[in-house]
């Protein structure tokens, strides 16, 4: 079986396995899987409103997935997307609230603030990895919590109106919202961010596949020593990849800050977008196109899940279980590949 076909089949099989195990769990706990999956489908694509919500949901997912995938391609594991996402969210809202500017300047400025904030937050683990050889996984995990507590503190003490738990609404001139898109989808929260997300897919593909810099980054990902021997600056590429990854993550935060919500609120825990980004990147085999499709899948699952308790009486956490299982199966793809290889060989004989 060709490598390419195996590469496409593995994620598909993982998704199917996840759904099968999800079905088994429902059967054991006495729910009707057919009703549940029907409700899931209706909740994601049944009405034009839901479609709008699905698109809104997968907009930050695409960017979070790209963030994880980009670092992965350079051989780094950025678990800190969640933290960079929160920081970007806050930065975009801060600029959105603090300034009064014409839209042409204000909106790009707010978006840029999110990108820079995310990039700076990711620069820390990148720098520590390059300079002190500290493993980025631990540093990014720790920075997630630092981001959570620090942003909460800033919202509570600097930005919140009268000891409240959230900031004021951003000014209209910094908003990504669009009456037209909303009316098109029966007043969902759909906003212009989707255009940015799709553009970023293209940017990632172009940067990695078509530029010299991208070649270097991938070379470092394949083999640091070989890249070093070929005269590439490994440390600089490590830092650069984290910074770009963080920029994607920060932009994802702007999607929520400037598009979906228009404010930032004190958070009791993580939003989960960053962690879902890991799942999305893995399922999309860390390519721009793969991330795009798997983000659509996860967005549909997440939004559709909300309909499951209403229509079928099944807790929406079932979808979280399925997502976790998909991650397990993709991660364990060694065993799926071994299985596919065996089938392939039998076919040849």
């Amino acid at each position: 079986m060709s490598k390419r076909l195996t590469g496409i089949l593995t994620p598909i099989i993982s998704v199917l396995l996840g759904i099968i195990v999800g079905t088994i769990i429902m059967l054991i706990s006495g729910y009707d899987p057919v009703a549940a999956y029907t409700a899931l489908w209706n909740g994601a694509f049944g009405e034009v409103y839901y479609v709008g919500e699905v698109i809104r949901q997968f907009t930050p997912y695409i960017l979070a997935g790209l963030a994880v995938a980009f670092a992965f391609r350079v051989g780094l594991f950025n678990i800190g997307v969640e933290g960079q996402f929160i920081v970007g969210w806050l930065a975009s809202v801060w600029v959105g609230v603090a300034f009064d500017l014409p839209k042409v300047i204000h909106l790009p400025l707010a978006i840029l603030a999110a990108i820079v904030a995310g990039a700076l937050w990711a620069f820390i683990p990148g720098f520590l990895k390059a300079r002190f050889r500290v493993h980025e996984v631990i540093v990014t995990i720790m920075l997630n919590y630092v981001a959570l507590h620090v942003t909460n503190y800033i919202i509570r003490n600097v930005l919140a109106a009268k000891s409240g738990d959230k900031t004021e609404m951003i000014h209209e001139s910094a908003s990504l919202r669009s009456e037209w898109l909303q009316s098109l989808t029966d007043y969902s929260r759909l906003h212009w961010g989707i255009i940015l997300a799709i553009a970023c897919c293209f940017i990632m593909w172009f940067l990695l596949e078509k530029t010299t810099r991208g070649f270097e980054l991938r070379a470092v990902g394949f083999n640091q020593h070989a890249a070093h021997y070929a005269g590439m600056n490994v440390n600089r590429n490590i830092i650069l990849s984290m910074v770009i990854s963080g920029a994607f993550a920060g932009l994802a935060g702007a999607m929520e800050g400037l598009g979906t919500f228009g404010y930032a609120a004190v958070k009791g825990g993580f939003t989960g977008v960053g962690f879902d980004g890991i799942a999305i990147a893995l399922l999309g085999s860390n390519t721009a196109l793969g991330v795009f499709f798997s983000a659509i899948l996860f967005g549909a699952l997440k939004v559709g899940a909300l309909n499951m308790p209403l229509e079928a009486g099944v807790p929406n956490e079932l979808v979280d279980i399925i997502i976790a299982l998909i991650v397990f199966f993709v991660a364990s793809s060694y065993i799926i590949r071994a299985f596919l290889d065996r089938i392939g060989k039998k076919g040849v004989k």
């Binding site: 503190y153 956490e317 976790a324």
Partner: protein, 319 residues
């Protein structure tokens, strides 16, 4: 408020918050010393917390006052079984350890909340009627000064945690099992050559981490939150991971780190009632454990080195 008053508030509170971290960090040590990265500690604590609360609510009438302790044992078993998923994925199926750990965390929250809704029909369980309550340690409480600070208004679980840490130190550094565990994590091929079953040792390491993580979650839920919801365990597992690293993968180091992090956590909560501490914005205390861990890894506070083979797969016959 005299220093004595402050100490009698701060010390028991510190020990209360430290106990779950100690158990879970020790679990992390067993796993990582065997060479398996365990980001899934958070998820294992979730499983432990869920199991203990459900057991406590269901069987309180049967076991009475012994229920919390039995619930810990049940949570221990549940954690060990759940951690098998991580073991199978990362050892047998050669999954990336970190990815598998992330999946463990996602799965634990999804699965437990699914079950909570199925069993109780809402997003959280009821409050348990008997958790761990404050005690005075007999005899020791009468020691002047020390007794009042350390052995009054405190919790049994904290002392159990400290004793378990000492036992873990003995196991890891003074027994053949510990030597094998460490050798598998440092150089699996050498260990294999000496006839040690690498796969078996790693499975044991991961299951021990599951058992201890389960205990940690059960202690946390039954002494601090008293019920189970999606927010019961929010970062304690990662803080335990931090304690393990800050303690340099050494049981007693992790014990010290966990107590220190417990101190930071408890101060961020009770600090407002203490003089001079209420001046410090508690955001500093909230982020202290994480920042310190990063500094420790960077080498500013002594070099922290992970076991050599941590995160790698051992494939027989490969070089």
């Amino acid at each position: 408020m005299s220093l004595m008053d402050i100490l009698t508030i701060v010390v028991p509170s510190t020990l209360l918050w430290a106990a779950p971290l100690i158990f879970t960090a020790l679990g992390g040590i067993f796993s990582e010393r065997s060479g398996v990265v365990n980001i899934g500690l958070e998820g294992l604590m979730v499983i432990g917390a869920f199991t203990s609360i459900v057991f406590n609510l269901t069987f309180f009438d049967t076991f009475g006052n012994a229920t919390p302790w039995i619930a810990i044992l049940v949570a221990m078993v549940a954690g060990a079984i759940f951690s098998l998923l991580h073991a199978v994925a990362s050892i047998t199926f050669r999954a990336d350890h970190t990815v598998s750990g992330v999946a463990i965390n996602l799965l634990a929250v999804g699965l437990t909340m699914f079950l909570v809704k199925q069993i109780y029909g809402k997003g959280e369980t009821g409050i348990i009627s008997k958790g761990f309550s404050k005690i005075d340690v007999p005899v020791l409480k009468d020691i002047p000064v020390i007794g009042e600070i350390f052995f009054q208004n405190t919790y049994w679980t904290s002392f159990v945690a400290i004793i378990v840490a000492i036992i873990a130190w003995y196991i890891v550094y003074k027994t053949p099992f510990g030597l094998r565990l460490r050798s598998v994590g440092e150089h699996p091929m050498a260990a294999d050559t000496m006839g040690i079953n690498v796969t078996k040792m790693r499975y044991l390491g991961v299951m021990l981490s599951g058992a201890l993580g389960g205990i940690g979650g059960a202690v946390y839920a039954q002494s601090i939150t008293s019920n189970f919801s999606h927010a019961t365990i929010s970062g304690q597992g990662f803080m335990a991971l931090a304690a393990m690293i800050f303690g340099k993968w050494h049981p007693l180091g992790a014990l010290g780190a966990a107590i220190f992090f417990g101190f930071a956590q408890s101060i961020s909560i009770i600090g407002s009632s203490l003089p001079f501490l209420k001046e410090i914005p508690n955001v500093y205390l909230l982020i202290a454990p994480y920042v310190l861990t990063i500094l420790a890894l960077t080498g500013f506070i002594g070099r922290a080195d992970a076991p050599k083979a941590v995160g790698t797969h051992y494939i027989k016959g490969s070089r």
